[in-house]
Symmetry: C2
Subunit: 451 residues, 2 copies
C-alpha cells in the first residue's frame, strides 16, 4: 500500500476503506461477539502507542490487553504470547485469532463461521476459516478440505483439513476455483489447552522458551526466537485440523487493486479521495492526501498522492508496486520507511520543511501527555504555541506558554514539553544547528519507558 | 503550463527547457546581435521585479530598459510603449519585437532571418518572421506570402504578405502544410518612424493617447487603452508588410506536449525532471517539483507534480489542460493563480503550512534588499533566522538578529525586515492570529514604491 503505508506505518493503522482504520474495524467486528475486556492485541512495539490510541477511541476497557512484541517473529510467537496469557486464566478458553488488516463486508457470515469453528474447537480441533475463492488468486495459500465433520450445533459445515497447499500458478489456481479448495485466511479458532499441547508437541523449544517470558525479560528473550508462522509451525503438522468454508466478502487489501474492488465507485467508475478534479477520466483510483490532484483523459490508473511521494500505476500492475518500492528503497531509503508525519506515544509530529541547518516541525501533543525530559547536543529549538497551552521545562525553569507565545531551547539544555490541558497542544518547532538527526536525543525521564 | 505556471507566474519566468528561464533564453538570443543597453523589456508590473531579478543575473546593464505595464492590454500598447521610447532617441532605429516565451533551437537561422527582415525594414516594410510549418497546427494564425521582394543583401528571401489567415481547422491546416503558408510567430522587425506613421494612420486615437503617457501618469492613462494586438491593429491593415520564411526549430511551448517534443528523451523515450522512479514506463513526461514521483506500467502520460497541485494527463490531451484548469479555478480559485512560493521585489516567500490560527512561511531576502516598513492589525509574527543576518525594526528598536536568534512582532507594531549582508537571509516566520490574510498589511515606507 505504498506510498500510503510505509514499513513503519503498516496498513492496519490506516483508514483505507472508510472512516475507521482496518484495526478499528477488526476490533469492532470481533467485539460483536466477545467482551472488549477479553480482547488481546499483539503488535510490534513500534506501533504500541498508536494501537492504544486507536483503541482508546473505541474500547478504553480493552487497553490493558495490548501486548508489544519487541521484534517481529511472524505469527506463531505472537499468538503464543497471547495464548499463554489466556491459558493462565482459563485453560479451556476458546480463542479466536484474527489478522487486523483484512476487510470483511459480510459480518454476519463471519460471525456465523466463527461460531461454527468454535463448535469444532470445543471438540479439540485447530480450526481455520477458509475463504471460498472468487477468482484464481495466485497470491494466497490454499486449503483442501475432506470429509464433513457433521458437527451438531454448527451453523456452517466444518470439514477436516486434507492438506495445506502452497501458492499455485495461474492454471492450478483456476482449477482450484471449482474443486472445493479454500483460501487460507490466517484466521484460527482453538481451545487454549489444545493449542498448548500442540505447541509442546510440535515446537517444544519454542514452547519452553516462551513459557519463561515475562514483562521484564521479553526484550532479551524475544530476540532469539525463531520467525515462524502458525500455519507452518502448527497447523500443517497437527492431526486434528478443521476448516469452515465461508463466503464473507473478504479481502486482505493486499494491493491498490483490491481497494479499488472493495470501494463504491462514482458514475465514471472512479474512486475519489481528497481534493481531486477529473475530466474524461474513468475506472481509476484517485487518492490525494495533499494538494489538488487533477486527471485528464486517463483510464484504469491508480494514483496515490502523499506529501512526499506520489505513485502512478496502471491498475493491471497494482500487484507490482513492490518493484517500485524496492527501487525507491535503494534511491531514497527513508521514503519506504516513514511518512513526513510520525506517530509518537504522546501525539505526532510532521516535518514541514528541511533546509540547510534548519528543520521545521508541527508538533501535536495529546491532552495530558508529555514528551520525555531530554536534551540535544547539536540542535537548538524554537517553540511557538499555535494552539492550546504548553507546560515547558527549559533548563531550571518550568513555565506555561500560551497561544502565540514562544521559547528558545539552547543546545545542551534539558527540556520537556507537556500538555496538561484537555485539548490538543500544537506547537511549531524550528530546529537549528548543523546536525538535525532524530538520533541526537538523550532522554532522562519518559512516561512511556523509552529510555 | 499549469500547474507549473499560474496566472501570476507565467511560463516565460520558468525554467521549462533548461537551466535558464525562457525570458533569459530570449534575452541571451537577442543580445547576440544587439547591445544589452539597447534592450527594452515590457512586462506586467506584477512581474516587474522578477524580470529585473532574472535580467540582473545576465545583463545588469539592461536593467534600466525594463518597463512595467500597469494593465495587460495585448501586444500593441506594449510595443508602442517601447517604440515611443526608442523613437525619441532615434526615429530611424530598426526595432525587433520578440516574445519572451518561445523556444528556438536553431539560433543561427533566427539571427539570419532577423538580419534579412532588417533589410526589408530599412525599405519601409513592417516585416514578420514566418515559421515554416512542420505539422498541421490548428492553434496558430497563418501568413500567406506572395511575390519575393528580391532584396539585395538579405540572406533569406523576403516576401510580401498576401494575407493573414485565422486559425484553420485540421483539414485546412493540412493543405497549408504544402502550399507555402507560414505560422505567424508574432516576431516583427520595423523602422521606428515607419511604425509610428502606421500607428497614426490606423490607430490614431491610440497613438494620441499613448503619446501623452509618461512615468507619472501611466497608471491612470493605461487603464483606458484598448486591448489590441499588433497583428490586428497594424499588420493586417498596413500596405507594406513583408515576411521572412524561416525554419529555426521554433516552439511557442504552448502545451506540455510541446515541452515533450522539445526535450531530449531517455532510453524509454521518457523525459524525467526531479526525483522520479519508473518501472515499465515509456513515452512520458514525468516532472516532480516536490517529493518522489513514481510511475509503474504507464505509457504516454504527462505528470507534473508541484507542492500544491498534481496534473496527470494523457499526452494526446495535453492541449486540453485548460479544461482542468477552469474546473480547478471554480473549485480552488487560488490554485489557478498562485504557487505556494510567491516572488517579491526583495526575494520570495513560501507558505509551508496553514493551520487554524497560524501560517508558517519560509522567507528569503536577497542581499541588500528590505521589506517595507509595515504593520499588521490582526496577526503577530515570530521570526527565527536560519541563515544570514537580519536587520530588524521592531517598534522603536532596530537591531541585528543572527542565525538561530528570534524575535516576536506583536500585532499592531510597526516592523521591518532587512538584509544588509552580501548573501541571502532566510527566516522562518510563524504567523498567529485569527486573520492571516495577505491583505492585512499597512505599508509606511517601501523602497519598491508599493505604497
Amino acid at each position: 500500500m505504498w506510498p500510503l503505508s510505509r514499513s513503519l506505518r503498516p496498513k492496519q493503522l490506516l483508514q483505507l476503506n472508510g472512516e475507521t482504520t482496518l484495526l478499528q474495524q477488526t476490533v469492532a467486528r470481533v467485539c460483536q461477539k466477545i467482551a472488549p475486556s477479553n480482547l488481546i492485541i499483539v503488535t510490534h512495539e513500534g506501533h504500541y502507542f498508536e494501537v492504544k490510541g486507536q483503541l482508546a477511541e473505541q474500547y478504553p476497557e480493552a487497553l490493558s490487553g495490548v501486548i508489544a512484541e519487541p521484534f517481529a517473529k511472524n505469527t506463531l510467537p505472537a499468538v503464543v504470547l497471547a495464548v499463554n496469557k489466556i491459558y493462565q486464566k482459563d485453560p479451556n478458553a476458546i480463542i479466536g485469532v484474527f489478522a487486523s488488516d483484512h476487510a470483511i463486508k459480510n459480518e454476519k457470515a463471519f460471525l456465523d463461521a466463527w461460531s461454527s469453528a468454535e463448535v469444532a474447537a470445543e471438540k479439540g480441533y485447530l480450526t481455520l476459516l477458509g475463504i471460498k475463492p472468487t477468482e484464481p488468486a495466485t497470491g494466497y495459500g490454499y486449503i483442501r478440505p475432506r470429509n464433513n465433520l457433521d458437527l451438531v450445533g454448527a451453523k456452517y459445515p466444518v470439514f477436516e483439513v486434507d492438506a495445506f497447499v502452497e501458492k499455485p500458478d495461474l492454471s492450478t489456481a483456476k482449477s482450484y476455483l471449482t474443486s472445493g479448495y479454500l483460501w487460507n485466511s490466517g484466521m484460527f479458532v482453538f481451545r487454549a489447552s489444545v493449542f498448548i499441547e500442540m505447541l509442546e508437541r510440535y515446537q517444544p523449544q519454542l514452547a519452553h522458551k516462551m513459557s519463561m517470558i515475562n514483562d521484564d525479560n521479553i526484550s532479551e528473550l524475544y530476540e532469539d526466537l525463531p520467525s515462524i508462522s502458525i500455519d507452518y509451525g502448527l497447523a500443517e503438522k497437527a492431526d486434528r485440523v478443521a476448516v469452515v468454508p465461508v463466503d464473507m466478502s473478504w479481502s486482505d487489501l493486499g494491493s491498490w487493486e483490491s481497494i479499488f474492488q472493495q470501494h463504491q465507485k462514482n458514475n465514471e467508475n472512479n474512486i475519489i479521495r481528497g481534493d481531486v478534479v477529473t475530466t474524461d477520466t474513468k475506472n481509476s483510483l484517485l487518492w490525494s492526501e495533499t494538494g489538488v490532484l487533477t486527471a485528464l483523459g486517463v483510464d484504469n490508473l491508480v494514483v496515490i498522492s502523499t506529501p512526499d511521494a506520489t505513485l502512478i500505476c496502471d491498475r493491471s500492475r497494482a500487484e507490482d508496486v513492490k518493484l517500485i518500492v524496492s527501487q525507491v528503497q535503494d534511491r531514497y531509503p527513508h521514503m519506504a520507511e516513514t511518512h513526513l508525519t510520525v506517530q509518537r506515544p504522546w501525539g505526532a509530529y510532521s516535518v514541514l520543511e528541511t533546509g540547510e541547518n534548519f528543520k521545521i516541525k508541527n508538533i501535536i501533543v495529546k491532552p495530558h501527555q508529555k514528551l520525555s525530559l531530554q536534551l540535544h547536543n547539536h540542535r537548538s529549538e524554537h517553540w511557538v504555541v499555535v494552539s492550546g497551552t504548553a507546560t515547558v521545562t527549559n533548563g531550571d525553569k518550568v513555565f506555561k506558554l500560551d497561544i502565540n507565545e514562544s521559547t528558545y531551547i539552547h543546545a545542551g539544555i534539558k527540556h520537556r514539553l507537556e500538555n496538561q490541558e484537555d485539548s490538543n497542544l500544537v506547537i511549531i518547532e524550528v530546529q537549528t544547528g548543523a546536525c538535525l538527526d532524530e538520533s541526537d536525543i538523550i532522554r532522562f525521564e519518559d512516561i512511556y519507558k523509552r529510555i
